[in-house]
C-alpha cells in the first residue's frame, strides 16, 4: 500500500531477463564503476576473502617451517618476509576491508537510507584500499623477483625504527610497506568519514541515535575511532619516508633521534586499531545473538555506553605494548591501570550477551554456533589480556608466543568467528540464497577444533620462553612437540576454511532460496527483498522503536511501549 511506510513490494526484480542480456564485459564494467554501497560492500568482502586465503597460506608456511626445530623449509629471509606479510595483510587487507565491507552493505539498509552519504567517495576509498593491497603484494615481484620472495617487507608488521632506516633495510622492501599502507590508509579514512556522515545525517524518520541497531552504533563508533587511529600511523609512515628519502632524522639515533618515538606513534595507532577490528565483531554479534535466541538485546543503553567508553579509554592504553622499553615505574603502573579498566566495559558486554541468551530460545544454526564460539573465546582472550596488562608478568610474556596466542584468540577467535557468523547471516540478504547448513557445521567444528589445538597450545609455548618472530628454534629448548601440535591445528583450520570457501562460492548458484527474511529478524534490512532493489527502499521508512520489524510482526506488543 502506498500509505504503508514500510513497503516491501518489489517494483523491479533485478534478476529479470533484462539484466541477463548484458555481456560479461559490460557486467565487469558495471562492477568497476559502481558507486552503489551494496556492490562496493560485496567488492570489499570478496577482496578480503581473497587476502584471507593468501595470508592464511602464509601462516601455514610459517607453521610448516616451525613444526620441527632447525627446519629448512623456509630460509630466514623468506620466513621474515612471510611473517611480516601475514600480519600486515591480515590487519590491513583482511580485517579492516571485511568489516568496512559489512558496514558498507548493511548500515544504509539498517538506517533506511538509499545509499551512503558520499557514493563516489565510497568507490574511491575502495579502490584506494584495493590499490594499496596490490602495491603491497607487488613487492613480491621486486628485487630478485619471486625467488627469495622478492622485495616483500621483512621488518615485522610493526616495522620498528631503526631497523627500517636505509642503513639497516636497504632496498625497497620497507618502502613498499610504508607506501602501500599510506595509500590504503587514505581509503580507510574516506570510508570512515562516509560512515559517520551517513549515520549522522541520513537516518530515516524516527530513528534517533538511541533507536539505531547496535551494529550501526558500533560502526559509527569504529569510524570515529578510525579517524584518530589510522592517521597517527600515516603520519609516522610519512616521517619514515622523510628519513629514508629526504635525509630526515626522525628516527635516526646517530643524529639524536629516537627509536622510542616510532614505538610510541606506532602503538598510538596500533592499540586503538585492535578495537577498530574487534568492535565490528561485537557489532555482528549484537545483531545475531538476539535473533537466534528470540530476545531483544539486554541493556541496550548500557551496550552503547560501554562501547563509547571503550572508544575513549582505548586511546589511553597504548603503552602496554611497551612495558619493556624502559619506561618509569609510574608510567608502567598507569598503563597497567588503564588497560585493566578498559576490560570493564568489555566484560560488561559479555554479561549483557549472557543475559540476552538467558530466558531465550536458542537456535543452533551455523551463524549462532560461530557467535557462541566468539563468546567463549572472547572471554578467554579478555582474560589473557588482563594477564598481559599485569606489567611485571608482561616483562616475561611480551614478544613471546603467549602474546601471539592472545591476539590470535581475539583476531581469529573473536573477529574471524564473527565475520564467519556475519557471512552466514547476511549472505542470504546479499545473494537471495542460503549457505548450506551441513557444510557450515563441518566448517564450524573443524575450524573450532583446529583453532583450539593451535592457540590453546600456543599459550604454553610462551610460558616456556619461546619468543616470536623466530624462523627456527633450538631442539634443546623443550618447544619441539608443542610446535608440532600448533602446526597440526593450523592445517585443520586451513581445511575448514577451504570448506567455507567452497560453500561460499557454490551456494550462490545452488543454495536454497532465502526470501526476504529467512531468520525472522527485526531490523530494517530484512524488510527489503533479497537481494534488495538498487534503491533499497521505495519510500523512506519511519520507525518508532529499536526493532521496527518486531513492531510490524507484533502490533499488539510493540517495542516502543517498553523502550525508555
Amino acid at each position: 500500500m502506498s500509505d504503508c511506510p514500510l513497503s516491501i513490494s518489489q517494483v523491479i526484480d533485478p534478476s529479470t531477463s533484462r539484466a541477463e542480456q548484458i555481456t560479461f564485459l559490460e557486467k565487469l564494467h558495471r562492477w568497476v564503476v559502481t558507486v552503489d554501497h551494496k556492490h562496493l560492500g560485496i567488492l570489499y568482502i570478496l577482496y578480503s576473502t581473497f587476502f584471507l586465503l593468501v595470508a592464511g597460506a602464509e601462516a601455514l608456511m610459517i607453521r610448516i617451517q616451525l613444526a620441527y626445530p632447525h627446519n629448512h623449509v623456509l630460509s630466514a629471509q623468506v620466513y621474515n618476509r612471510f611473517f611480516t606479510m601475514h600480519g600486515t595483510t591480515m590487519v590491513f587487507l583482511v580485517g579492516m576491508p571485511f568489516l568496512f565491507g559489512f558496514a558498507n552493505y548493511i548500515v544504509p539498509l539498517q538506517i533506511g537510507a538509499r545509499d551512503m552519504a558520499f557514493p563516489r567517495l565510497n568507490a574511491f576509498s575502495f579502490w584506494l584500499t584495493a590499490f594499496g593491497g596490490f602495491l603491497l603484494y607487488y613487492s613480491f615481484l621486486g628485487g630478485a623477483g619471486l625467488y627469495g620472495v622478492g622485495n616483500a617487507p621483512d621488518v615485522g608488521w610493526f616495522a620498528y625504527a631503526p631497523l627500517t632506516a636505509r642503513s639497516f633495510s636497504p632496498g625497497h622492501a620497507t618502502d613498499y610497506w610504508a607506501l602501500a599502507l599510506i595509500v590504503s590508509g587514505f581509503g580507510t579514512l574516506g570510508t570512515a568519514i562516509n560512515i559517520i556522515a551517513t549515520v549522522i545525517s541520513m537516518r530515516c524518520k524516527g530513528m534517533t541515535l538511541m533507536r539505531m541497531p547496535l551494529f550501526t552504533w558500533l560502526l559509527l563508533i569504529v569510524s570515529m575511532l578510525t579517524l584518530v587511529t589510522i592517521t597517527p600511523l600515516t603520519a609516522a609512515q610519512f616521517m619514515l619516508l622523510i628519513d629514508r628519502y629526504l635525509g630526515g632524522h626522525f628516527f635516526d639515533t646517530q643524529a639524536g633521534g629516537s627509536s622510542l618515538i616510532w614505538i610510541h606513534f606506532f602503538w598510538i595507532f596500533g592499540h586503538p586499531e585492535v578495537y577498530v577490528l574487534v568492535l565490528p565483531a561485537f557489532a555482528i554479534a549484537n545483531e545475531i545473538i538476539p535473533v537466534f535466541c528470540r530476545k531483544a538485546i539486554f541493556g541496550y543503553p548500557a551496550m552503547v555506553a560501554a562501547s563509547v567508553t571503550i572508544m575513549f579509554v582505548s586511546l589511553s592504553v597504548w603503552a602496554h605494548h611497551m612495558f619493556t622499553v624502559g619506561m618509569t615505574s609510574v608510567s608502567n603502573a598507569f598503563f597497567t591501570l588503564s588497560t585493566m579498566l578498559v576490560g570493564v566495559p568489555t566484560g560488561i558486554k559479555i554479561f549483557n550477551w549472557i543475559a540476552t541468551l538467558w530466558g531465550g530460545r536458542i537456535r543452533f544454526t551455523t551463524t549462532m554456533l560461530f557467535c557462541i564460539g566468539f563468546l567463549f573465546q572472547f572471554l578467554i582472550a579478555g582474560l589473557t589480556g588482563i594477564m598481559l596488562s599485569v606489567s611485571p608478568w608482561d616483562w616475561q610474556l611480551h614478544n613471546s608466543y603467549f602474546v601471539i596466542a592472545h591476539f590470535h584468540y581475539v583476531l581469529v577467535g573473536a573477529v574471524v568467528f564473527c565475520i564467519f557468523a556475519g557471512i552466514y547471516y547476511w549472505y542470504s540478504k546479499a545473494t537471495g540464497r542460503l549457505m548450506n547448513e551441513t557444510l557450515g557445521k563441518w566448517h564450524f567444528w573443524l575450524f573450532a577444533i583446529g583453532f583450539h589445538i593451535t592457540f590453546d597450545t600456543m599459550h604454553c609455548l610462551g610460558l616456556l620462553g619461546m619468543p616470536r618472530s623466530i624462523y627456527t628454534y633450538q631442539p634443546d629448548r623443550g618447544w619441539s612437540f608443542l610446535n608440532l601440535v600448533v602446526s597440526v591445528g593450523g592445517l585443520i583450520q586451513g581445511i575448514a576454511v577451504l570448506i567455507f570457501a567452497y560453500n561460499f562460492i557454490v551456494s550462490y548458484w545452488r543454495g536454497e532460496v532465502a526470501g526476504d527474511d529467512p531468520w525472522d529478524a527485526w531490523t530494517l534490512e530484512w524488510t527489503t527483498s533479497s537481494p534488495p532493489p538498487v534503491y533499497n527502499f521505495e519510500e523512506e521508512p519511519e520507525v518508532h522503536s529499536r526493532r521496527p520489524l518486531w513492531d510490524l510482526k507484533h502490533p499488539d506488543d510493540p517495542d516502543w511501549e517498553y523502550e525508555s
Binding site: I193, V228, F250, P558
Partner: protein, 198 residues
Amino acid sequence: MSSMPVSHPERTVEWHLPSKRRVGMTALIVGESAIFTIFVVAYVFYMGKSLSGPTPAQVLEVPILATICLLSSSFTIWRAEKAIEDDRMGSFTGWLGATIALAAVFLRGTALEWKTLIYQDGLTVNTNLFGTTFYSLVGLHATHVVVGLFLLTSVFIFSLFGWVDSRQSERFGVVALYWHFVDSVWIVVFTVVYLIGR
C-alpha cells in the same frame, strides 16, 4: 504486511538531521588534526635535542605579517560566507578574492622564509633534528594551505563566470570550515614553533 500501529505520539515530530557535508568535513578535520598532532608532538619531543647545527633561536624570525594575513583571511572568508548566504554575489567575489590574496601573501612569506633558511642559514631537512621537524610540520601546514588555496581559487573562478549563487552556500560553507581549520592549525604551529620553541 500488517499496517503500523494507528496512533503514535511521535508521528508529528519534525525530523532534522545535521548536514552530511558539514559532518563529513568535520570528520575529515578530526582526522587531519590527529596527523598534525603527531607532527607537533615530534617537534616538541625533539626541541633542544639537536646534536648540531642552527637552533631555532638563531635562525627563526617570528612571521608576524604572514600570520596576521592568514588569520585575517578567516575573517574575510566569514564575510564571504555571509555574502553568499544573502545572495550578494558581488560582495562574495570581493571577500573571496581578499581571502585568496591574504593566503597568497602568507605562502609567499613562507617561501621567502625557507629561501633564507636554506641558502643563508644552511638549514635543511637533513641538517639536524630541528631541520627535520621544522620543515615537516610547517611544510605539512603549507601543503594544506595550498590545497585550500586551490579550492578557493576554483570557487573564485566559478563565481567570476557567474556560476555561483546562494544555492551553493552550504557547499561553500564546507570549504570555509576547512579554511578555518587550516588557520587554527597555524595558531598551534605558530605558538609551538615561533613562540615556545625559540
